[in-house]
Symmetry: C2
Subunit: 162 residues, 2 copies
DNA sequence: TCCTAGCAGTTGACGTGTCAATGATGCTAA
DNA sequence: TTAGCATCATTGACACGTCAACTGCTAGGA
């Protein structure tokens, strides 16, 4: 199924029908994949992927602790988003916040025992789910191609929008 | 960068380091891409991609109207999600709801003039953004590969958890 | 007749994300 | 010294999504 007037391709501004179909498949499927991973993590560990990202970063930090903005930078979140999320995680006992001894007006985020335990229990099922839902769905060549596509998209995105 | 013990590959349950890196690149980049598209649509048309999906479906329906559950099935949303979203769109004057004449206890969703206008104005910039951010970022071969990857992931997803 | 099934749609609670505004604090330059 | 100014973090308002409960209605069987 190719376009009727191939000569137009060079100058056109809008995607062709084929490109649009691929776009929709691609973006909807990756969203469905994320969402499935999210459900699995929730089911297996009562954690969201956001929780997991925070716990992963903290568990790799020395003293299981990080400054709030360091943490935000590390996982690529806005500070406001992190602050809301930490509030919810604190209510569930996964982390604690206290004033930072070294930096004035800096908040330190600490992993609690419950947080460590939740993270430990979540890791293997989560990695297994990534393997089952992503790696196992693709041929090794497709996995490589997916990596190259991601790199190309990311590069273009970074170049385009600032 | 390949794994140190390739012999393990066959029986392993967890992704290798390379696979995990690709997974993260892939899922984070596609999320960033969605989010960039969303911003562009918002900036150009004051619509979200959810609004756009609803308006697209309605504008293609005869009489610019659809039953609520038809609409939900057509765009693949849960009824509850659609109901919340229609409430917000109705407040903004993009659609109207009225009781369905033919089906008892059925609500009909109607496109308003403002909704039509918003959709009309949104289409070209939105398609242009898809071209710029997705199609132009990839080689034609990569576009095809992306389609194949999406198909493989979707097939696996449907087989696995459905 | 009545009661139970089930469907269509809505609602409320809550998690999640963005944006803009707000404290609180330190730094710097008039 | 002090009036800005940037930085760290939080907060409030709101959009969006899911889940479970609920309303109203219809239909089918005891």
């Amino acid at each position: 199924m190719t376009e009727a007037t191939p000569g137009r391709r060079a100058g056109r501004q809008l995607p062709t029908g084929d490109e649009l179909r691929i776009w929709r498949d691609f973006i909807e499927t990756t969203a469905a994949l994320s969402s499935r991973l999210e459900s699995r993590l929730q089911r297996d560990s009562s954690l969201s992927t956001g929780d997991y990202a925070v716990l992963l970063a903290l568990s790799e930090a020395q003293d299981q602790a990080m400054r709030s903005s360091e943490l935000a930078a590390h996982i690529g979140w806005e500070r406001s988003r992190l602050s809301h999320h930490l509030g919810r995680m604190e209510r569930r006992g996964l982390i604690r916040r206290q004033e930072c001894a070294t930096v004035p007006r800096g908040a330190e985020v600490l992993l609690t025992a419950a947080g460590t335990e939740a993270f430990t229990g979540a890791t293997v099922p989560h990695l297994r789910a990534i393997r089952e839902l992503f790696v196992d769905a693709l041929t090794p060549e497709q996995v490589v191609a997916a990596g190259e596509i991601a790199t190309a998209l990311r590069t273009h995105l970074d170049a385009a929008g600032g």
